[in-house]
């Protein structure tokens, strides 16, 4: 820490690292966020990258960003706007300038702001004249030149040298926010264990960036964000997709079942399959199928054979799986279908986030085809809801759709490693060998779940299938009255799940007039907006739905406490419509954004205040 620099204590900071897809911005951001988490801050991150693996260099389409929000208080979102933007080229500035706070800082690699790159980014003239940077502190740093200078004697080839420049930027930002460098150094030592030259090079550049920031006196001050008050325990970072994979493995372990995942790669769900594929050591079987339909059909086959079976996908894949979900409904087998929602329709915005698969999950199948629907709402609670999805699927012998989204999938946060004993037991309704007079469609009187008779079990040989089943016997039946009865039984079985789910919790002021309603991945933004509005002395309440079908039993009671209901969601109003179908007595106000991006707290605060007044 420079003696001259003033140290200013602040509550929270958001930093956005941005550059070309190949500039290593995801790694830079991850190292910074891990360092901050280890330091004791609360942290939330959000990567923002293009669908193209390597879009043309220097173009706006190829800009990859990573935002880190860390603070001394609870951090629930990656932050709408950033205090600091690191722009490794003009395209990064072009793509991200709109997200910089009016009093923020921009640090850019001056070497990359040449005529050619400026033109590639689509600027017609000096970017800092075109963008309104009044009020913004703009720091020009020759990052590429200084990186080359720093490594000229290390013995690396020029290409590899330039690849280290992201660490120079990390060094600058680390000084600015008083971050220790140990974690990054430790990372280099592990990552490049077999290439000691790269350990030396990256470490040197990181330190040189740090000392550069200290020396240039361009920054009037540096900032300190004290550790947050965090519950004691062992922590790690986790993103939503890994948490889903791990939650499912935890459920399989608890239920003593083999986990089987039949799946087809699709953004942004793929990393769940990848995470599971690594875990052969936990006996997980992953089957990368030839298509989405085969993904779910192999899972149905595995479920019939006695595995805890899951399939993972995103919106377009869910559409393809529709008929097979109906097969799982008809055969009443446990199955978890994970849908990591992205921007639609059609191929839409594969790498962006949206909440527009709700109606598809609820109704996107032929016939009366009820399934349980659960939505996750933070990267780390993806673990909990994945566990619960498996528990409900098995105990109620039903398909469960678990809705996540692109924002939760890639966003990370520190996660207090849970004690697995705190999770509820999973009772497997397995039929015992040679059960006298066993019937494939006889049901538990409480749950209406049938029993699971697994091939290999003596005396329970039976046939399941997609044709309508005779009640109790499971034989094929075309009897009209039986079809109606079975339709109702399947529906009631799903509704009975409501008895096993926790009541809806009201956050904020129970005596407020306005209830803000959200579901799934918008929790962090909504709760932050709620806190901010209440801090201004206004009364407002929030409920966030995780259980969508069935809804919690106290939903009506909660809704009836409030005069005004504002449903906020990233679609054109699907959940509002769903609530209107179930509780038509209320008028639902709506706030919707469909930009492929999470809400901003700023927008939410405005809309909440407006609705308080109207």
């Amino acid at each position: 820490m420079s003696k001259q620099a003033k140290v200013i204590e602040i509550e929270e900071v958001a930093i956005r690292f941005s550059g070309d897809s190949g500039d290593g911005m995801q790694l830079t951001g991850t190292l910074f966020s891990d360092t901050s988490a280890i330091y004791g801050n609360d942290v939330s991150t959000f990567p923002d990258y293009p669908a193209e693996i390597r879009a043309p260099q220097g173009t706006v389409g190829g800009v990859s960003g990573f935002q880190v929000h860390f603070g001394h208080t609870r951090i629930n979102t990656p932050g709408d706007y950033c205090d600091v933007l690191v722009a490794m080229n003009p395209a990064a500035l072009k793509a991200n300038f709109r997200w910089v706070k009016p009093d923020g800082i921009i640090i850019f690699d001056a070497d990359q702001f040449d005529e050619k790159n400026i033109e590639k980014a689509g600027y017609k003239g000096d970017p800092f004249e075109i963008e309104d940077v009044s009020g913004i502190q703009v720091i020009s740093a020759p990052i590429s030149t200084l990186t080359k200078e720093s490594l000229k004697d290390v013995g690396l080839d020029p290409k590899s040298i330039l690849r280290c420049k992201n660490m120079f930027a990390l060094g600058i930002v680390s000084w600015l926010f008083d971050r220790p460098l140990e974690h990054a150094i430790k990372f280099f030592n592990t990552k490049f264990a077999k290439k000691p030259l790269l350990v030396t090079a990256n470490s040197k550049v990181l330190y040189d960036g740090y000392y550069y920031a200290e020396t240039i006196e361009a920054f009037g001050s540096c900032y300190k964000v004290k550790p947050a008050e965090i519950e004691k325990g062992t922590y790690r970072n986790i993103n939503g997709n890994a948490a889903i994979a791990w939650g499912m493995m935890a459920a399989a372990e608890r239920a003593d079942l083999q986990l089987f995942c039949g799946s087809y790669p699709i953004t942004p769900a793929t990393s769940i399959l990848e995470e599971l594929a690594v875990r052969k050591d936990l006996k997980v079987k992953t089957y990368q199928a030839e298509d989405e339909i085969a993904g779910i059909c192999t899972a149905i086959g595995a479920s019939f054979a006695g595995s805890l079976a899951v399939t993972t996908t995103s919106g377009p894949g869910l559409a393809l799986k529709g008929e097979a979900i109906g097969l799982a409904v008809m055969t009443e087998l446990p199955l978890v279908i994970v849908d990591v929602q992205r921007g639609g329709p059609s191929t839409g915005l594969p790498t962006k986030t949206e909440q527009s698969d709700l109606m598809q999950a609820l109704y996107g199948r032929n016939g009366e085809s009820p399934v349980v629907i659960i939505a996750t709402s933070t990267p780390s609670n993806c673990f909990d809801y994945a566990y619960m999805a498996c528990k409900i699927a098995v105990e109620h012998m039903t398909p469960v759709i678990l809705l996540s989204d692109g924002f939760l999938a890639n966003g990370t946060e520190p996660w207090k490693i849970p004690n697995l004993n705190d999770y509820p037991d999973i009772k497997v309704p397995r039929a015992a060998a040679d059960t006298p007079n066993w019937q494939s469609y006889a049901r538990d009187p409480e749950t209406l779940a049938r029993t699971w008779a697994i091939p290999g079990t003596h005396g329970l040989e039976h046939r399941l299938g997609s044709l309508e089943k005779m009640n109790l016997t499971g034989d094929v039946s075309y009897v009209p009255e039986n079809h109606e009865l079975m339709t109702q039984l399947r529906d009631q079985k799903v509704q009975n799940v409501a008895k096993d789910i926790p009541p809806l919790e009201i956050l904020g002021d129970e005596d407020a007039e306005l209830l803000v309603i959200g579901w799934g991945g918008t929790y962090g933004h909504l709760v932050t907006a709620l806190t901010d509005v209440r801090r201004e002395g206004k009364k407002v309440a929030l409920v966030q739905f995780n259980y969508i079908n069935p809804l919690p039993l106290n939903t009506k009671e909660v809704l009836s406490k409030f005069k005004k209901h504002l449903v906020c969601e990233i679609n054109l109003g699907q959940f509002a419509n769903y609530l209107r179908m179930q509780f038509p007595e209320y008028q639902y106000r709506k706030f919707n954004k469909v930009m492929g991006l999470p809400f901003t707290v700023k927008d939410l605060k405005e809309v909440i205040i407006k609705n308080l007044e109207d």
Partner: protein
């Protein structure tokens, strides 16, 4: 072992068989029922999986575990069953439409993965359950309800697809030759890998006598050839015809003519890896050639997918330090908050 005292009757289910009178499916069911007691598997360890179509009613008629899926997806469902539990004897029942049209992709990938299952394709060259539309195996020009002026599509041959996709096992039988069907199904069960058995099956309602040229008793022996591994390719009522290679093609020859003797005939090698001759044999069709019946290809090379999966689990588990989700959660980068 109770399996030794079982007979075909023991594998019949209590369900009424609902196929049309005279349908070839009855004969195939009877062949399968005779096969099952000879496999060495108990009832509860056998699973029949089907898709949609007339043949797909099959699992209801066998007293084992069964799964009647959705159209075209039997191969995928069965792949999941076998991968989940490789100890099961898994059988797939599909038709030519179910297996080669809507399910064509899954068929190819089942063959490619070489999962150790037995698939019986009931090929009647027509869509029966939807009442008489052409199928991917209908001959060019077939007049059906959806091709009133004759089809303009070239047909698939199940054998060509299986062998062309580097399949490890392909056999062909005819519904009216139930004894041979049973023999071939036993062979299919022995083969480690995806075993495809095509049964030419008569649809008495919508495509009656489509195979009559080769199945009518009077001409049958002259128009089919029963291939047996290690034996010369000889056929005919009087066992006086055979197959040789001439100009890179198969040719039918008359024994005794032009000095040709049995020694000049090709000897069937079902076990070789090279697919060339198997492709030619599977492709033979009347009237140019006799239609090949029997095990055309049975190559015991590559380990089935399901076994490799188990091997990998053992191998990785032995090396890994992670044996529980608890271990996993505490692996990698963690930190303490005190």
């Amino acid at each position: 072992m109770d399996t030794q005292v079982l007979n075909a009757e023991d594998f019949k289910s209590d369900q009424m068989v609902r196929w049309c009178a005279g349908c070839g499916d009855h004969a195939i069911l009877s062949s399968v029922l005779k096969t099952l007691p000879q496999l060495g598997y108990k009832h509860e360890d056998i699973v029949f999986v089907s898709g949609i179509g007339c043949s797909s009613r099959f699992p209801y008629y066998v007293n084992t575990y069964g799964f009647h899926g959705i159209h075209g997806r039997a191969m995928a469902v069965a792949s999941g069953v076998k991968t989940s539990n490789p100890n099961l004897s898994v059988w797939i029942i599909c038709g030519d439409g179910d297996g080669l049209a809507i399910g064509g992709n899954h068929f190819l990938h089942l063959v490619r993965r070489n999962i150790d299952v037995n698939l019986i394709m009931f090929n009647n060259r027509i869509y029966g359950l939807t009442k008489g539309q052409y199928s991917p195996t209908s001959k060019l020009g077939s007049v059906t309800k959806t091709s009133p002026y004759g089809t303009i599509e070239r047909p698939f041959k199940p054998g060509g697809i299986t062998i062309g996709a580097n399949g490890t096992y392909f056999a062909r039988s005819i519904d009216s030759m139930p004894k041979i069907t049973t023999e071939l199904l036993i062979e299919s069960a022995k083969h480690k890998g995806a075993s495809i058995t095509e049964v030419l099956q008569n649809c008495v309602i919508y495509n009656d006598r489509i195979f009559a040229d080769i199945t009518d008793r009077d001409n049958r022996d002259d128009r089919i050839i029963l291939l047996k591994h290690g034996e010369p390719m000889i056929f005919g009522k009087n066992q006086d015809k055979g197959l040789i290679m001439r100009n890179n093609r198969l040719a039918v020859v008359q024994l005794g003519q032009d000095g040709i003797t049995e020694k000049d005939l090709l000897v069937h090698d079902a076990h070789c890896e090279f697919i060339g001759i198997h492709q030619l044999l599977a492709d033979m069709d009347y009237p140019d050639y006799p239609v090949a019946i029997g095990v055309i290809r049975s190559f015991d090379g590559p380990k089935p997918y399901d076994e490799r999966m188990e091997d990998q689990i053992v191998e990785v588990s032995e090396k890994s330090k992670i044996h529980s989700v608890h271990d996993l959660m505490y692996s990698g980068s963690t930190w303490e908050v005190k």
